[in-house]
Amino acid sequence: MSEEENKAHWSLFLAGNHEAYSWLYNKYVQVLYRYGQHLTSDGEMIKDCIQEVFANLYRSRKSLPTPANVKVYLIVSLKNSLLRRMHRESVYDRNKDAHSGGFLLEPGVEERFIDDESQRAVEEKIVRLLAVLTPRQREIMYYRYIQEMEFEEICSVMELSYQSAQNLIQRSMKRIRESFGRGRSD
């Protein structure tokens, strides 16, 4: 599953090969669907936007370049599509907030916590820590430490300069450390 293979399929797709198009879809649809869940809990909206991403690829295949990283390219496309959609819906429906919760992260259940009590304690702590971070901070932490993206890639997904991305990471880490400190003195 090398990036070379992705690019080979990408250029076959640009040349009009239908199987390469379907290969790209099958390889990335679940990655995109999971990613979408960080931006909204509306699964149907995520599906609509994935459709939009692949439809746009098809329509502009004559003029598309081959991206440096196919996955990052698709993630950026989905993010833009979802944000546009959420913005549109917030304009027409005042009850819906635009991107209300911001970037969503949840505590994860690790198997080694067999003890319910301590598991709940950890989860509560994670929820508190996540609440301390701004949506942008949660988002950059996710790209850096969960998706393990390169800085350049983070910059393109978040439309940040290299320096701003660095600063945002530093501030986020500081925030987390401070909260840990407070947690201990409780």
Binding site: I50, K62, M173
Partner: protein
């Protein structure tokens, strides 16, 4: 807990719910049909813009020339529609179908030779029929129709050679583009593909796509047979099947048998030479059901066999030379298996198990 551990307690993407298989396939179908609608809309607009009224046939050609850069194959070429646009005429001759005309080629065996300039030279075993046909641009498709009882072969401009067996049709562009070399096959062909790393060669059938770089292999994909087969002599091929969702790679002397109804296939070891012997004018049989052998012969000689009960239980081994006339071939078969042959007419035979 410290900062590094913090991230360990955040739900990984792998723990988030996936789309179910049904949802994933449904979403893909939505994408593909949306694209198709888009193509149609786009096509209509350009037709209005140029003020042209066109038949569906012309529209298909336009779609290729307007929306695909000339050196690339148009996406999702509708080969089946092209097959259906050329009816199986009463003609017993091999036919080369060009966009503006058809050329009938007499004789049992014929050769077509394409030059880089897009010219085709046709040679037939029936005398010295040599024609040089000037062809159109690369986007134009040619269709070769080989009826039962006839055979043909094509040398493409890139040097790739193809032998086309009886009862087969092949669709290919007059000249391959610079991105891919793609042809469509219904029936049986043997290919000797000239290696070209920058232009993969793709053989499409109704159920499979076979991708190759440079290799020799045989494809048998008759519409009236349940199982399609790809047998590889040398090199490497990748077969994509089950509507593009699955694929398998073959090594030399492996055969892939594909059931287009069940969308399932399996790989077995074979002597691939056996599968291309028809090219050289003989059929080798190894413990093969007599009904299979007769079906092949009926295709090759363009005759009908009425097969009696119990024939499918008989099998035979050996080699049949196909340059002999059919009565001689059946005479040899009679020595190998306990059967009776009754000739009803020149084209119908009744075969029964000897009582």
């Amino acid at each position: 807990m410290d900062t590094s551990e913090f991230f360990k307690h955040i739900k990984k993407d792998s723990a988030l719910p996936d789309l179910s298989d049904e949802e994933r396939v449904a979403l893909w179908n939505r994408i593909v049909s949306g694209n198709r609608r888009y193509d149609r809309r786009y096509l209509r607009w350009s037709l209005i813009a140029t003020g042209a009224a066109a038949s569906i046939c012309l529209a298909l050609l336009l779609r290729q020339s307007l929306f695909a850069p000339p050196e690339q194959t148009a996406p999702e070429t509708n080969y089946v529609a092209m097959l259906q646009s050329v009816p199986a005429a009463a003609s017993q001759e091999v036919r080369l179908v060009l966009p503006d005309k058809q050329i009938a080629i007499e004789g049992k065996d014929s050769e077509l030779d394409y030059s880089r300039e897009g010219e085709v030279e046709i040679r037939s075993d029936k005398g010295d029929v040599t024609k040089a046909e000037k062809l159109q641009s690369a986007e134009v498709f040619n269709q070769l129709v080989v009826p039962f009882g006839r055979r043909s072969s094509i040398t493409f401009a890139d040097g790739t050679q193809m032998w086309v067996n009886s009862g087969s049709r092949v669709i290919y562009p007059a000249n391959f583009g610079s991105a891919v070399r793609e042809i469509f096959v219904e029936g049986e062909v043997m290919l000797d593909v000239r290696r070209d790393a920058r232009r993969p060669f793709i053989v499409k059938t109704r159920g499979m796509d076979i991708r190759v770089m440079g290799t020799q292999f045989n494809v048998s994909a008759y519409d009236n047979e349940d199982v399609a087969r790809v047998a590889l002599l040398n090199g490497k091929v990748c077969v994509v099947f089950a509507e593009g969702k699955e694929s398998v790679s073959l090594s030399p002397n492996q055969m892939f048998s594909y059931d287009g109804q069940a969308l399932t296939g399996e790989v077995s070891s074979v002597n691939a030479e056996d599968f291309i012997a028809w090219r050289d004018g003989y059929f080798p049989f190894k413990m093969q059901a007599l009904t299979d052998v007769l079906r092949k012969l009926s295709r090759y000689y363009n005759v009908r066999f009425t097969m009696g009960e119990g024939l499918s239980r008989l099998s035979c081994s050996g080699k049949l030379h196909l340059n002999d006339n059919l009565d001689d071939v059946l005479g040899i078969l009679k020595k190998a298996a306990p059967i009776e042959v009754k000739k009803e007419s020149d084209t119908t035979y009744i075969i029964n198990v000897k009582p």
